[in-house]
Symmetry: C2
Subunit: 250 residues, 2 copies
């Protein structure tokens, strides 16, 4: 059944109003008709089976038939803080990271980021990023769409990190070292409903100054296996492992 | 230190002979000189620090200084059997799968694969695939290069699967079901030095006939978390989880 994310103001009295691009998708692409069923996801994370009532070129209304019981969201809230990588790697991270259950993404300007984004470029990109995570959420059958922040400075990232229960950073020197803290230690310190932020450097990794500042701000370094991962592979390893730990292991 | 994979016939008496593209890389790209150090990986998985002796346009010779003690390979042998996906997704799987520690890849023609490869196309692709896994192995600091098989039929894949200790397949119906075998059960049944093959369907998933045949051939279905993953994301989840289980959890 096709899944649509509906903004909270469009829910009322057991009815849902669908507007914007989704109307075109329902009417023209899927060619659905009155009485057909769709899944509507509420921003709070609940999902309802709904029957289509009225279809126009401008809006579609549907009636809630049944609320679904499903647990497709990770029991912990994971934020990927990603040092701006080259090319379209950030798009890959957003798409795959959404499939793998991330709650939010914060791109940041790292000292070794090759690209620099001005405000205009960042604003334009942000629209595209939001589209990517919305589509990936629908495809993955998620009940929430992850939040994508605008690009922030490293200092701003450190300030934002105070909102999290557990703070980690992926440090490739850990993969090379024989003395490292196992990722499972960090996982065991995380409890259900808590939030974790994991900070990942760009292609060239973190500068020494950034590593010092991360440690001062309470970030613990973790190893993501003994091999050296590319910047865009590291968040996927982290999210897969946290899903395995919290959803498949216990 | 730069890492090169050297075929076994080019090792003799504590010396290494480097030929082919790597010569260009050492002499022209890295502009290295006599006395500089490189890492040379033997196909059996050992790695040596070597000093450059003689550099010509045709070959480079180096002397073994020290064998390195390193454990960067997964303790279990993982083969990704991938239903042919669309576009260049297989290249993404090979690159990321190599970073994440796969031992080999077997692409297969699934009944729902949209693309069909003739022998000529497959041969041309195979050269490119081998280059991708070689470069990814160097970048990830692996001591082995994964094997990439030529494309096989589904029947041939079932025959090949008899060589493995544990046989699994990723079945998206498991993600949707409330009765499923946890991935960790499969992991617990796998012992060090054993081999596992995981079979992943193309974009449209497995056909019912394929699911029956997989089960008859002794494949167990596993869930890769409760979200629906794209075909190219599934092998990355599996490899990350197996690394977490065998390298970070214990």
């Amino acid at each position: 059944m096709q899944r649509y994310f509906i903004t909270s103001s469009n829910w009322a009295d057991g009815h849902v109003k669908i507007t914007g691009d989704d109307v075109h998708h329902i009417v023209r692409v899927m060619r659905m008709e009155k009485g057909d069923h769709i899944l509507c996801a509420h921003p709070e994370g609940k999902v309802a089976v709904c029957a289509l009532m009225e279809l126009t070129n401008d809006h579609v209304t549907a009636q809630v038939q049944e609320w679904k019981e499903e647990q497709v969201e990770l029991p912990v809230d994971v934020t990927i803080a990603q040092g701006l990588p080259k090319g379209d790697k950030l798009e890959l991270i957003l798409q795959k990271g959404t499939e793998l259950g991330a709650a939010s993404f914060i791109p940041f300007q790292a000292s070794r980021s090759v690209v620099k984004w001005d405000e205009k470029k960042a604003a334009k990109k942000l629209d595209r990023f939001k589209k990517i995570v919305k589509e990936a959420s629908e495809q993955a059958h998620r009940s929430r769409i992850p939040v994508v922040d605008t690009v922030v400075s490293f200092q701003k990232l450190l300030e934002k990190s105070n909102d999290y229960d557990v703070k980690l950073f992926a440090y490739e020197e850990e993969a090379r070292s024989s003395h490292f803290e196992k990722l499972s230690n960090a996982m065991h310190s995380l409890k259900d409903t808590q939030s974790v932020i994991v900070c990942i450097g760009p292609e060239g990794g973190f500068s020494e100054a950034e590593v010092s500042q991360l440690k001062e701000a309470g970030f613990r370094s973790v190893r993501l296996g003994p091999r050296i991962l590319r910047t865009e592979t590291a968040p996927l390893y982290f999210l897969s492992s946290i899903s395995y730990h919290f959803e498949e292991l216990r």
